[in-house]
């Protein structure tokens, strides 16, 4: 495979042997890629500083197998100064990508959205909307998309969401979360002025994402639960 230089973000890195790390990268051209990188322990080595999440970097990947070698890495901009809840939210996004996204499939739209989401996380007031919008694009990439047309056609006040089937009107009682029709309509129209809509959206996303994760817990949620 040819060497290419491309824009990327480090999602996660973990130590491997004495002086190497295994990094998960979200790249512009190849999607999520796992790569092996040497990091020196000397003071002069700045590789570790570049292998931090939320810093845009230009990477050159080598190798023909699915585990690539990180040949070169250079900063491509300033690190995004996320703080407090925004930082925890960004961890959540990274965890979603690491756990859900398949490797080595190009995903332009998702990469764009990832960049945009990190930028908009800087605005602490709209964290939830940013996260939900990102989740929508991620689900789209994973082949799960919502068909909202049914919600406008039926007159039921509530709807269930079934993985695979989509929304079904709540004429019969099922043992799971029921979503308000008006809220779902607002979601379809991307109108998030009502806080209750966002709550419904969150519960809906949780149901879908939990289903996709298949029982694997998301640890970044714990960072939020503990807070007073």
């Amino acid at each position: 495979m040819k060497e290419t230089t491309q824009l990327a973000f480090v999602l996660h890195s973990r130590p491997y042997r004495e002086s190497q790390v295994l990094v998960d990268l979200l790249t512009e051209k190849e999607g999520k890629v796992a790569a092996l990188s040497y990091v020196g322990h000397s003071v002069k080595s700045s590789r570790k500083a570049l292998l931090q999440p939320f810093l845009p970097v230009n990477v050159t990947l080598k190798g023909q197998y699915s585990l690539r070698n990180l040949a070169r890495i250079e900063p491509a901009g300033k690190s995004i100064p996320l703080k407090k809840s925004a930082l925890f939210s960004a961890f959540y996004i990274n965890e979603l990508l690491v756990k859900l996204l398949t490797e080595n499939i190009p995903c332009w739209a998702l990469f764009e959205q990832y960049q945009a989401s990190l930028q908009s996380l800087l605005d602490e007031t709209s964290l939830e909307i940013t996260l939900r919008k990102f989740e929508l694009v991620l689900l789209d990439e994973l082949g799960v998309s919502f068909d909202f047309s049914l919600i406008f056609e039926h007159t039921a006040s509530g709807f269930y969401y079934l993985p695979g089937d989509g929304f079904i009107p709540a004429y019969t009682v099922l043992k799971q979360a029921c979503y308000d029709q008006l809220h779902l309509q607002a979601i379809a129209e991307q109108d998030f002025s009502n806080p209750a809509t966002l709550t419904t959206f969150k519960i809906l996303m949780r149901q879908v994402i939990n289903h996709l994760l298949g029982g694997v817990p998301l640890n970044s949620r714990k960072l939020f639960n503990k807070k007073v």
Partner: protein
């Protein structure tokens, strides 16, 4: 060729050390058996005792075979009003070697890292809260590593400490002594600039 069962077991056991693979483990085993039996038996005794008796200090979570570690037992430090929060026991040693700090420590034994499955519960934050609740400390120094995870940990602890009415500080980021600005990465340099201090004459 196969080794006798005990030799093989020795080699396999040595492989649990970090950075030691099959070949190195074999070399170590043969060295101990052939040239250094005394050292080997001393190692086995110490290792056995250490594994059995060493636990965590009840106050700072550092490794110790007693209930309280040396630092927590020191009379001078018992009345200290500064608490320094670090990630690993190695960080305690590093700070102790500077001789700058006379307060007490709290060792997290890691940092928050959702992707590795390390959450707030794994860092002994309940022990930390109990210590803060004693109202002994007037300042909490967050000395976690300057990585994204370290930053997140610092923030999480800062939020926890805030409720206990203490001053919270974070160690400074900057250019290493003897370093050259030219070779420092941009991230460090921008931290160093934004956190610059007044030059007092």
């Amino acid at each position: 060729m196969k080794f006798s069962p005990l030799v093989q077991e020795l080699i396999d056991s040595l492989k649990c050390l970090p950075g030691v693979g099959a070949k190195s483990a074999q070399r170590m085993a043969f060295h101990l058996l052939e040239r250094n039996r005394k050292g080997g038996s001393k190692l086995s005794q110490t290792l056995g005792q250490a594994m059995e008796h060493i636990g965590h200090c009840q106050q700072c979570r550092n490794f110790t075979e007693e209930t309280l570690c040396d630092i927590c037992q020191s009379p001078k430090r018992k009345v200290a009003t500064q608490l320094c929060i670090v990630e690993t026991p190695a960080d305690v040693i590093a700070i102790e070697q500077t001789g700058e700090f006379q307060g007490r420590y709290f060792v997290l034994m890691g940092h928050l890292s959702p992707l590795d499955g390390i959450g707030p519960d794994d860092l002994g934050l309940d022990v930390l809260e109990k210590q803060l609740a004693t109202r002994q400390f007037s300042e909490v120094i967050l000395a976690t590593n300057p990585t994204v995870e370290g930053e997140a940990t610092a923030h999480f602890i800062a939020e926890l400490a805030q409720e206990h009415d203490v001053e919270i500080s974070r160690i400074a980021h900057g250019v290493p002594v003897g370093g050259e600005l030219e070779y420092v990465d941009g991230n460090t340099l921008s931290h160093a600039l934004s956190g610059r201090k007044n030059y007092n004459l």
